[in-house]
């Protein structure tokens, strides 16, 4: 293990690879985005607080610190649009309108979970909300999201697929294959890379040459932008252009959001003590908290009210999840094949 480095929030500044931002969210939109970020934060913190009780018995990847990309991208998505996600999926699920009760129940392995408890944190789904699923095999849902966009195009639907993934996922060949084909077929896709500088404990230099992930867009025939991923307005602005392109039939775009994970890769704890990243780095990013960056556009009193409302909602979700039954033994052999068993 090498020496832990120090990369400050501004070190990888914005880069325009053909995708420029347009405008800023209106006040009401900014408030809604803030509310989403805050809600994601509070849900994740609650999960973190209660994880040690050992009742949420599944690998759980919290996205605290990374709330802006889901909130700001999903702000552009309409009910009919689709989201595909990865292992760090809670933010994407919630921002797209996934049912909170069903998510918490899923983490508790309960029959009322969004996947009947069979999936856990790594396999959230809410089809009613257009949240098409998450899966932890790196980059694997990227091509699936492209396929959904292709179906939409074939059917002449006005429907966009937003696909979220991490910086590590861009090292998988299938990511490149999927980008290539999305460009060839000019599909309504927004590729959203949440670049939090790390893949588990590995930093960028051992994994990728020094170039923006967004620059891969150019190679694959689509515009890209690297933005401050902790600044919801910045993400919102490029996502707006990407969305416009997708809806107009101009094809896919890629957005790289520079951000930072606060907790350990998997699990509820902080982890700077491990030594793979420095406390200085952590502190610099914590100061660049998306909830601080975005605070200017929402009145403090509103935030207080929001917080209370959300906490009440979370209380209820946990209560319900904890009281819900586990799946019945019969569920083990249910849904192996569609139509085969009830």
């Amino acid at each position: 293990m090498g020496q832990a480095g120090f990369i400050a929030p501004g070190d990888f500044g914005p880069e325009d690879h053909g995708l420029s931002g347009s405008g800023a969210p209106a006040a009401s939109d900014a408030q809604s985005i803030y509310r989403h970020m805050l809600r994601i934060r509070l849900v994740e913190e609650r999960i973190g607080d209660r994880y040690a009780e050992q009742e949420m018995r599944c690998p759980t990847h919290l996205c605290i610190g990374q709330e802006a990309p889901p909130a700001a991208v999903c702000a552009h998505l309409r009910p009919q649009d689709l989201v595909f996600s990865n292992h760090r999926s809670h933010g994407h699920y919630l921002a797209k309108g996934g049912d909170l009760d069903a998510m918490i129940a899923e983490l508790y392995g309960k029959a009322t979970g969004c996947a009947d408890g069979k999936g856990g944190s790594q396999h959230l789904i809410d089809l009613d909300a257009g949240f098409m699923g998450s899966a932890p095999i790196l980059a694997s849902t990227i091509s699936v999201g492209v396929g959904a966009a292709w179906a939409a195009k074939l059917d002449g639907l006005d429907q966009v697929s937003a696909i979220f993934f991490g910086d590590g996922a861009t090292e998988e060949g299938t990511f490149h294959e999927a980008m290539n084909w999305a460009a060839v077929a000019k599909l309504p896709v927004i590729f959203v890379c949440e670049n939090n500088l790390y893949s588990v404990h590995s930093d960028m230099p051992v994994r990728q040459p020094p170039r923006a992930v967004a620059a891969l867009g150019t190679a694959h025939g689509m515009p890209g932008a690297r933005v401050d991923g902790n600044d919801a307005d910045a993400v919102w602005a490029v996502a707006k252009t990407a969305m416009k392109r997708a809806v107009a039939g101009d094809g896919p775009s890629i957005i790289e959001c520079m951000t930072y994970r606060w907790r350990e890769h998997c699990g509820p704890n902080e982890d700077t003590a491990l030594g793979y990243r420095s406390q200085e780095e952590f502190d610099a990013w914590a100061a660049h908290d998306p909830l601080i960056v975005g605070r200017g556009r929402v009145a403090a009193s509103v935030i207080t009210t929001m917080t209370d409302q959300i906490n009440a909602e979370i209380d209820l979700a946990f209560d319900r999840a904890i009281q819900a039954p586990f799946p019945d033994a019969r569920e083990l052999t249910t849904h192996i094949f569609p139509g085969a068993t009830a």
Binding site: G113, G147, W150, A151, D155, T174, E177, W181, H335, P338
Partner: protein
């Protein structure tokens, strides 16, 4: 009298009819719309159904399988074609980790009705990377249906059934079956994806086989008949699931088993057949069951070794005799005049594919 067509024509016809019946059926794969149409099986279909529904793809087996899965989750029914099983090895992640599991792992909320056709190569020096027969991997994977039709009738009916099925279905087609002819009704019909068929009745020994090995088993049964042995031939048709009931019923009659498969023996379909027989028909068995399968060796290219590598009717008959305690040897079929090698299915096949 039913019309007779070739296996590859049955594939083309089934695809055509599936696409005519349901506009959500799509056809994709390297060379699918090309001039040779994947050995004739996709010929004329882009002209008929347009480039939106029938199309070529980049050499991106992994992601394009994910693309098919994604489309399937949105109501499409893609048929994906791989010219060789060996190429599909690149797509195991989306097939096995994803498509096979999405229905279960999302609590039944997702469906992945996709059909993946894979062609098993053999002969004319296909060699180590163009003649693998990996059905066992798929049969080992819960959530997949895996079929290996041997005859044109089944091929057509099972492909039509696969397209209608809401689960991912893997169809393995042996290249040497493509020119075989059989009765095939002209109308669209389905054949079940999960049952074996006794295609020749016999009393002394059961030969359970699939795909090309079913054809070889039928030849072996002829040879055995001449040697005084009555062989029953069971065409498995599906290797996941394997129809244990039909197998056991046959074993109850014959008490002897030869399992013949186009893949390797170890952890292969032939092993599974023996395991089923041991577990559930032990009392019926009167002699040690035998396997006819590829030896644990990569596939050699030169015909001088390939001819020794691939087992066929002779080896099946030999093993059948062994179950009867006979050690007389089955003669090798003489090569037809002018042919030196057994590395092509018939003389019309003059390479390179």
């Amino acid at each position: 009298m039913t019309r007779e067509i070739k296996y590859f024509q049955a594939i083309q016809e089934a695809t055509d009819q599936a696409m005519a019946a349901d506009k959500d059926v799509l056809l994709m794969g390297l060379g699918v719309p090309g001039p040779t149409g994947v050995f004739g099986t996709t010929k004329g279909l882009q002209e008929k159904y347009g480039p939106d529904r029938v199309f070529d793809m980049p050499s991106s087996e992994n992601a394009m399988t994910g693309v098919a899965l994604g489309a399937a989750t949105r109501g499409k029914r893609p048929i994906m074609v791989h010219m060789r099983v060996d190429f599909a090895v690149l797509s195991l992640e989306p097939i096995v980790n994803q498509a096979a599991k999405w229905h279960y792992m999302y609590g039944g909320r997702m469906k992945a009705p996709l059909v993946i056709r894979m062609i098993i190569g053999r002969g004319w020096g296909q060699g180590p990377q163009h003649s693998q027969s990996l059905q066992a991997w798929f049969a080992h994977t819960p959530g997949l249906k895996v079929v290996m039709p041997a005859r044109p009738y089944d091929m057509k009916g099972m492909l039509l059934a696969a397209v209608q099925d809401d689960a991912p279905v893997i169809i393995l087609e042996h290249r040497w079956l493509y020119n075989l002819t059989g009765p095939v009704p002209e109308h669209a019909y389905t054949a079940p994806l999960d049952g074996a068929a006794v295609i020749r009745e016999g009393t002394d020994v059961t030969i359970a086989a699939a795909s090309l090995m079913t054809i070889e088993a039928m030849k072996a049964a002829d040879v055995l008949a001449e040697m005084g042995v009555s062989a029953e031939v069971l065409d498995l048709r599906s290797v996941a699931p394997i129809d244990a009931l039909t197998l056991n019923a046959s074993l109850a009659k014959t008490g002897r088993l030869v399992a013949a498969d186009t893949g390797h023996a170890e952890c292969g379909v032939a092993a599974e057949i023996l395991a089923i027989a041991g577990e559930s028909a032990f009392k019926s068995l009167r002699a040690a069951p035998r396997r006819v399968a590829l030896p644990p060796i990569p596939s050699p290219t030169t015909p001088a070794l390939a001819d020794l590598y691939f087992p066929g009717a002779r080896q099946i008959a030999q093993e059948a005799l062994a179950t009867l305690g006979r050690d007389d040897s089955v003669p090798e079929d003489p090569l037809p005049e002018g042919r030196r090698w057994r590395d092509t299915p018939d003389p019309s096949f003059t390479g390179p594919y």
